[in-house]
């Protein structure tokens, strides 16, 4: 037992390293690392423990070591790192920008192209500036519904006018209570029977008046939902009445959810015929149409002639702008070009990473040889370089994705759009950078793993 002779020496030196020398373990296995377990216990179980401990594995170049070594390898040359990731940054960035702007633009189109806006037409008399202010130069005829519904593509027509009831009070019960607070009088509107459909309203209860009520000038009204609430009318099955001045009108329905002319919800609505008879209504103010998609140009051209054949200029028609299919096609082409550019940039970025990693492997053969001499397996070495290029790619991906998002937001801001970008796409783009890094690093990693330690150790630092 040669070591025992030396033991007093150990004590005399009492230095830490002296206790680090190899020692023998009884039994066939003599791994030096068993030192971890206390001596007594180790001796008892030495024979099996040696093999078992080795199998269980000490911390031999685990994932943490791998990541840490890769991080050091990358961090050693920050300047080169920046140059290396530029390609990936550009590639990932242009991908994110392309996808982001496409999504944002799509969201923008969807916003303007909602069904209501795309199919709604408003017809009004033209106005002219005169000394007395602005006045209408034309009129909408009373039979506007008949006239306009003959135009191809028109689906619903309705017209509306405000009724001037003077200072007549509108109440649910004719009680003259001086102490009662004066409520704001609801507006009185007159519409043609088709108006409800033309503004896409909904009947809450009861019904809307029809052409018969209109022709007979029946004293019936329909209430907007808010007006009904204000007047205390909630159901119509008992034929409640409201009073405009001292005349009673039967409430036959309550409407809600109108998509246009939402002021109707606060109004008492009566047939045009009734308004003409009772309040001397002189003309209609506005006609609303719902048209088939794409009928806009026809209606815009023909509606004035249907309403005022002698003086078509006195009628203005507002139709939604037709979406240009040409523009959409151009947009799609631009997207394809940008995606292609992004793909090329990614390819270049990947090649850049491969190139720099290969260079790095060449430069670091000494380090590789050293690591091999210290016990690194080929796999350890390969994994380290693979991890380095993967992390470089991931860094590029992260920076590129962040830049891309920033550009999408900036462009949207300048155009006053709402930026829309799926978060999973951004995350996937960043990860794509990592994948590209891994792919790019595969060949250099193989090269690194194949470095012969002997030749590597012969020269260099």
């Amino acid at each position: 037992m040669l070591r025992r002779l030396r033991a007093p020496n150990v004590a005399a030196l009492s230095s830490a390293i002296s206790r680090m020398r190899p020692r023998r373990v009884p039994g066939p296995s003599r791994w030096p690392l068993l030192r971890r377990t206390p001596w007594a216990r180790r001796r008892a179980a030495a024979v099996t423990a040696a093999a078992a401990d080795e199998r269980l594995g000490f911390d031999r170049f685990g994932l943490r070591d791998l990541v840490s070594e890769a991080a050091h390898g990358i961090g050693a040359r920050p300047g080169r790192l920046v140059l290396t990731i530029i390609g990936t940054v550009l590639g990932i960035g242009s991908l994110v920008v392309t996808v982001g702007l496409a999504q944002t633009a799509a969201g923008q189109i969807a916003r303007t192209f909602d069904a209501v806006a795309a199919t709604q037409v408003v017809v009004e008399p033209a106005t002219a500036r005169t000394q007395g202010g602005e006045r209408a130069t034309g009129t909408i005829p009373w039979d506007v519904e008949d006239r306009l519904s003959r135009i191809a593509g028109v689906e619903h027509v309705g017209a509306i006018a405000t009724v001037n009831v003077g200072d007549l009070r509108i109440t649910a019960v004719p009680v003259n209570d001086p102490s009662a607070p004066t409520l704001a009088t609801p507006q009185v509107m007159a519409t043609t029977p088709g108006m409800l459909d033309a503004v896409r309203g909904r009947i809450v209860t009861g019904r809307y008046f029809d052409a018969g009520h209109d022709e007979r000038a029946d004293r019936v009204v329909v209430l907007g939902a808010r007006a009904a609430q204000r007047l205390g009318v909630h159901r119509v099955d008992r034929q409640p009445s409201i009073f405009i001045g001292d005349r009673s009108y039967t409430v036959i329905g309550i409407i809600d959810d109108v998509k246009r002319r939402s002021d109707l919800l606060d109004a008492v609505i009566m047939p045009v015929g009734t308004a003409r008879a009772d309040f001397n209504l002189v003309g209609l103010e506005q006609a609303h149409l719902i048209m088939a998609v794409g009928a806009g140009p026809v209606i815009a051209e023909q509606a004035p002639y249907f309403l005022e054949p002698n003086n078509p200029e006195s009628i203005t028609v507002q139709v939604p702008p037709a979406t240009s299919t040409v523009r959409e096609n151009v947009q799609a082409d631009i997207n394809a070009i940008f995606l292609a550019l992004g793909a090329v940039a990614l390819l270049v970025g990947g090649l850049g990473i491969a190139n720099v990693t290969l260079l790095s492997v060449r430069e670091r053969t000494g380090e590789i040889g050293l690591r091999r001499a210290l016990g690194a397996t080929k796999r350890n070495i390969g994994n380290q370089f693979l991890m380095e290029s993967g992390v470089i790619g991931l860094l590029g991906g992260l920076v590129g994705a962040a830049l891309g998002v920033a550009i999408v937001v900036a462009v949207s801001l300048s155009k006053e759009w709402t930026p829309i970008l799926d978060t999973p796409i951004v995350v996937a783009a960043a990860l794509l950078g990592g994948v590209i890094g891994l792919c790019a690093g595969a060949y250099p990693a193989l090269k690194a793993a194949g470095v012969e330690p002997i030749t590597a150790l012969r020269g260099g630092t």
Binding site: R4, A7, P8, A16, I17, G375, T461
Partner: protein
């Protein structure tokens, strides 16, 4: 592991106590020991075991293909016992480096066998060889081979990554190893600012941190001036005194003379220097 230094090395202290009564000369060279092949055990040992030599070369040859083939080593036999300090001296081209590479499991012999701790390495896989390198062999190179961008401490810790030192012990061991080579005050320095002697000390700390069975030094003083060379050789002697097995390969007779046993290599054959 706050109590680590004590806990980590407890077994050795225990060993020391057991061996306490047996006195040893302070010089570090054990006169009772003779480098005889297969010489194991100790007369006073109460539990006699057969300890195989750390290094046992049996008829080992290494030739490199060519026309004609270059025979770097010819049927070499060499046995290095535990705790020995052997120098292998020879001129350049004598097969020194080839021998070192084979001893370090970096190269394989073309014939013969190399038994490391009594286990044949002829048939073990490349993976297992890497493992053995990490766990049992420490290297000290002429060119130091320190990573220039990593601190002294990191450079020493590097060896623990592959040798399977438990993570919790790594730092304490590295600090102890650096303390041992007298570089505790240089932990955060970069190797580039250290002197040659200091660099080689870092390399020695790195080599011994995983407590190898044998330390292989390849021209350890080749890049050092005589003063720093002496310092490094003193360190080797101290490590040897602590029980470390050392094999120093050199062409320098002065370096070789410091070893307890000298082996001369020339034209691929070994001969003991008396």
């Amino acid at each position: 592991m706050t109590q680590d230094p004590a806990g980590l090395f407890e077994p050795v202290l225990h060993q020391a106590e057991v061996a306490g009564p047996v006195a040893a000369p302070v010089s570090g060279v054990d006169p009772t020991r003779t480098p005889q092949p297969g010489g194991t055990g100790h007369p006073a040992g109460d539990h006699v075991e057969v300890i195989p030599p750390v290094i046992d070369l049996r008829g080992l040859s290494r030739s490199f293909p060519g026309d004609p083939p270059v025979e770097a080593l010819r049927r070499v036999d060499l046995t290095v016992q535990r705790g020995e300090y052997v120098s292998i001296v020879g001129p350049s081209g004598s097969g020194k480096s080839t021998l070192l590479h084979i001893l370090g499991l970096l190269d394989r012999p073309t014939a013969g066998d190399f038994l490391l701790d009594g286990v044949s390495t002829a048939t073990v896989s490349e993976h297992e060889r890497a493992r053995l390198r990490g766990g049992r062999i420490g290297f000290v190179f002429q060119a130091f081979h320190l990573l220039p961008h990593r601190s002294v401490l990191d450079n020493v810790l590097l060896a623990t990554l592959y040798s399977g030192v438990p993570r919790a012990e790594r730092r304490d061991r590295a600090l102890a190893a650096l303390d041992r080579v007298g570089l505790s005050h240089r932990l955060d320095f970069m190797p580039t600012v250290l002197s040659g002697g200091e660099r080689q000390r870092v390399a020695v700390a790195r080599a011994v941190i995983s407590s190898p069975h044998v330390l292989l030094a390849d021209e350890p003083t080749g890049n050092l001036d005589s003063v720093t060379s002496t310092g490094v050789l003193d360190l080797f002697e101290e490590l040897h005194a602590d029980g470390l097995t050392l094999v120093v390969i050199t062409h320098d007779a002065a370096v070789s003379a410091r070893a307890q046993r000298q082996v001369r290599i020339s034209d691929g054959t070994l001969s003991e220097v008396a």
